[in-house]
């Protein structure tokens, strides 16, 4: 299964500003929000939404999905699953694709 998500960065930035620290804590794990760069965070957000689509269901909390770099490539960890993902930015948009291996 694959999943894709597109984030309009200015809108993301607006919601991030609105929700403040609480939004940040609810959306990202400490390791993910280490950099407070909005574009970077928008990319991670897109990746998480793509992972949800690939998994076919939403976890209890967005922080249950962890986006990390593995061998210089980003991967998503959800429970025991590991999904390949790819993130890209251009201009006002961030896009991410996630692929879950069929069992």
């Amino acid at each position: 299964m694959i999943g894709i998500d597109l984030v309009y960065i200015p809108e993301f930035a607006k919601q991030l500003k609105l929700g403040g620290d609480i939004f940040l804590q609810k959306s990202f794990n400490a390791a993910e929000s280490n950099s407070k760069n909005t574009e970077h965070l928008a990319g991670i957000w897109a990746a998480k939404e793509a992972v949800i689509k690939a998994m076919g269901k939403r976890p209890n909390k967005l922080t249950d999905i962890l986006i990390v770099a593995k061998n210089e490539r980003p991967v998503a960890r959800v429970g025991d699953h590991e999904l390949e993902i790819s993130i890209s930015h251009h201009g006002d948009y961030a896009v991410a694709v996630a692929k879950k291996e069929d069992q």
Binding site: V7, L18, G19, G20, I22, F23, A30
Partner: protein
């Protein structure tokens, strides 16, 4: 306390060097400094500024929210005779550039996320980096003589007007005003003040100056929201606040709403009825529940910026909190009058400071004289001259009365007085006080509307009632007013709230403009069954960025445009503004507004502080616990485990507190690690245990707390509160032992580290020591009650390592993992 100049002012910190000066918690670590340390930072700051080429009389601009660095910069500027231009961080780029154009600052300091575009036009630095910028400079007073006549600050008034005026206050203006305030208010050095109003406003500026002169502890917030304030009141046991009346009104409403939700409103009303007959101590007992939410220590709130509504002041007084109000303007540096703590509450702005002279001019305008009156408007001679009478009195622009024994009562701004065709003067404030008490009126703003022969009294109304009801309300209000004060006409303000100034006063000027341009009365009556001012609808509208969005109870949030991104923003906003936490998983595509409302009503109130047992950290318990551990427990463990320790020499010269991390293979590992460390460390060592473990096994919990000063880490849900607690223990000087793998390794192999350990190491910057055991696995497996076999264990202690602030948490965790694997 009289200071001739800021050299003397900062010198004074030497007399109170051991007192706590400033505290801030930007993330999970709390940064504190004593007045001694604060003084050194100010000296470094002054030397840094000199080195940057800032000279006497030069302007330095700061656009940032309140923090200790703000004051270090401010006082550093003062020491070298430079002039600080503080700008409210909420101003627009355009306004800020306008201020900068007038004052031509050589150096601009801005908050990390504030107006990055300033960097293109000015030499800018980030205020959050200030301590880094100044760290290599000498903590010695700069060799600069000050007369006290130096321009200390230029504060701009009402940035929204076409030509903002920069008020120039000298060092003497500020210091004599502080002296006057300190004579009027007996500041107790043990007070704890929360800094919430912007320091760019003269009221907070002078307030902190006064408090710091006495050695009061000042607490700063990284982000100012009602929830953050409520938490800080509790966490820091705040005793005093400087606030705008709006904040007290907001708290009053919240207290009343909570009472209704908890079905305690009758009890609350009863308590308010009997409160006036009780002494202060009993009042505080009576309202114990409310006080507990306010941290339990709040004693005094001093309001400024606008007159406080009498019913709001009365509300606080009845609960046993002194609500004092003062009066002044930026031009008067700023305090002219204030109520004294000892005096009984009265509806007045108080008595003049000892060094301020007040009088009322023939037309009712209040005039003032004193050493605190400003020098001039920046580069605006004509304006300066226009604000003084011929014999040198400053014209405040406010109308008021002074009683025979000196009590001042402000009636309103001269420019907003409504002059009727009959020549009678009407003060909008007098009408508003009466009108706001009407139950069908949410907010009202009275302005004059020009007619051929004079003005008429006009009301801009915010209410969720229909026109008929409002007409009736206006009639009832008029019955309570003098004949000449009657409201002639009204209209609904077209938005949710009246426009406000940065100090949250209703922006009367803009309302008057709107009223005079002819109001379209139908504008706000767009169908829609939702009551305006419903906090939930407001939150949704905020997220949708559409202040008129119509959302009905049956609407699915997804259908009105609340996607997954906005959903989380909404949940965050509800948590922040209402203090109610809703699980993310409870809201999905099918959730309607009415579902959301139910969730909010049943949602859990966010706990304001960590409720964790702390008896294990009391001195007597530690003495007993340590003694038993060293004898009995140690002996018992030795029966099963023989230990060889290597690398103890790595701990020589270790700066405590430190973080010890160990591999998790067995129930015995924490005790073994504990016993392998030198006594000086282990007697002051707290072990982190998993929440679910400690809760499930009562005996184990007691034992681990008693012998190993254990505390629980929550590894399931939000990890931040647990980490915050860990940092608070480190702050108190405890060493921490923690197993970063999170779970016991089933095969004895080292598992991946949780990134939380990285966060702890990076954010605290404390040394981390790796302690690795081998040969222990299987001695006392988690699921067994008794040891299974004897073992010989080798414990290796590594060299302490520290991480710099900009290391990523993940990287730090990985590096620690690598080091432990290698050891």
């Amino acid at each position: 306390m009289k200071f001739k100049n800021f050299t003397e002012y900062v010198n004074n910190f030497g007399n109170i060097s051991d007192r706590s000066a400033t505290t801030i918690k930007p993330f999970i670590k709390t940064y504190r400094q004593t007045y001694g340390e604060f003084q050194q930072q100010i000296y470094r700051s002054a030397n840094y500024l000199l080195d940057q080429g800032v000279k006497k009389g030069d302007r330095v601009m700061v656009v940032a929210s309140n923090c200790p660095e703000w004051q270090e910069l401010n006082l550093g500027c003062q020491l070298i005779g430079a002039t600080l231009v503080p700008v409210d961080a909420r101003n627009s780029l355009e306004t800020t550039l306008n201020f900068a154009k007038q004052t031509t600052p050589g150096l601009v300091f801005r908050g990390k996320y504030i107006l990055p575009k300033l960097d293109k036009k000015f030499k800018t630095e980030i205020l959050e980096n200030y301590n880094d910028l100044i760290k290599d400079y000498l903590p010695k007073p700069p060799n600069i003589r000050l007369s006290g006549q130096e321009n200390a600050v230029i504060i701009f008034t009402s940035g929204t007007t076409a030509d903002p005026k920069g008020v120039v206050l000298t060092q003497q203006n500020l210091l004599t005003n502080a002296d006057g305030v300190l004579r009027a208010i007996d500041v107790d050095p043990n007070w704890r003040i929360l800094s919430i109003l912007p320091l760019s406003h003269s009221y907070e500026f002078i307030g902190e100056l006064c408090m710091m002169a006495k050695g009061v502890s000042v607490f700063y917030l990284p982000r100012i929201t009602p929830l953050a304030i409520a938490r800080a009141l509790n966490d820091y046991k705040i005793t005093i606040l400087l606030a705008v009346p709006q904040l007290l009104t907001l708290f009053k409403q919240r207290i009343q709403q909570t009472a209704i939700l908890e079905k305690q409103d009758k009890a609350l009303n009863f308590a308010f009825k009997i409160a006036p007959f009780l002494p202060k101590k009993l009042k505080r007992v009576l309202f114990g529940k409310v006080h507990k939410k306010l941290g339990g220590k709040l004693e005094i709130v001093i309001t400024g910026g606008a007159p406080i509504p009498t019913d709001v002041a009365d509300f606080w007084e009845r609960m046993g909190v002194r609500a004092l109000q003062g009066y002044g303007l930026t031009e008067t540096a700023p305090i002219l009058t204030v109520n004294r703590v000892k005096d009984k509450f009265r509806d007045s702005q108080g008595l003049a400071l000892y060094n301020v002279k007040l009088k009322v001019a023939d037309d009712g305008e209040i005039l003032a004289k004193g050493p605190n009156i400003f020098k001039e408007y920046w580069q605006n001679k004509a304006q300066t001259e226009a604000t003084f009478t011929k014999d040198g009195w400053f014209k405040t622009g406010d109308m008021g009365k002074i009683s025979d024994d000196g009590w001042l009562k402000i009636q309103g701004r001269a420019k907003f007085v409504i002059v009727l065709p009959s020549g009678m003067n009407v003060f909008p404030e007098d009408i508003e006080v009466v009108a706001e008490k009407h139950k069908d009126i949410k907010e009202i703003c009275i302005v004059g509307v020009k007619k051929a022969d004079g003005e008429e009294v006009f009301a801009s109304v915010i209410s969720d009632k229909n026109d008929k009801k409002i007409n009736k309300a206006i009639k009832e209000i008029n019955e309570k007013l003098e004949d000449f004060q009657h409201i002639s006409d009204w209209a609904r303000w077209p938005e949710e709230q009246h426009p406000r100034t940065l100090l949250l006063k209703i922006d009367r000027k803009n309302v008057a403009l709107w009223a005079n341009q002819g109001v379209n009365k139908n504008i706000s009556q767009k169908g829609g069954s939702i009551a305006s001012g419903d906090p939930l609808v407001n939150v949704l509208r905020l997220s949708l960025d559409d202040s008129r969005a119509i959302i009905s109870e049956k609407d699915r949030l997804a259908d009105v445009g609340i996607d997954s991104l906005r959903r989380l923003a909404v949940i965050s906003l509800i948590e922040e503004q209402l203090g109610i936490s809703i699980p993310e998983s409870k809201i999905d595509k099918t959730t309607t507004l009415s579902d959301l409302r139910k969730l909010v009503v049943h949602g859990s109130h966010v706990e304001s502080s960590n409720k964790r047992p702390s008896w294990q950290y009391s001195k007597p318990i530690r003495i007993i616990g340590n003694m038993l551990r060293e004898t009995l427990v140690r002996g018992l463990i030795r029966i099963y485990v023989k230990t060889t320790v290597e690398g103890t020499e790595n701990l020589a010269g270790l700066k405590q507190p430190a973080i010890f991390i160990f591999n998790h293979v067995d129930s015995f590992d924490a005790p073994v690690v504990y016993q392998s460390l030198p006594k000086a460390i282990r007697d002051n060592l707290a072990v982190a245990g998993a929440d679910d473990m400690l809760v499930r096994h009562m005996v184990l919990t007691l034992v681990s707390r008693l012998f190993y000063a254990a505390f629980n880490l929550n590894r399931q849900d939000n990890i931040l509160p647990s980490l915050e607690y860990t940092v608070s223990l480190l702050d108190k000087g405890w060493n921490i032992a923690i197993a970063p793998e999170g779970h016991v390794s089933k095969d004895g192999k080292l598992q991946k580290f949780k990134s939380g350990i990285g966060l702890l190491a990076v954010e605290t910057g404390l040394p981390v020591v790796i302690v690795k055991t081998s040969g222990l696995a299987g001695t006392l497996p988690l699921d067994k009650k008794w040891p299974q076999h004897f073992s010989h264990v080798t414990v290796k202690i590594g060299q302490p390592i520290q991480f710099s602030q900009n290391t990523s948490y993940e990287k730090a965790a990985k590096q620690l993992h690598k080091l432990m694997a290698k050891l």
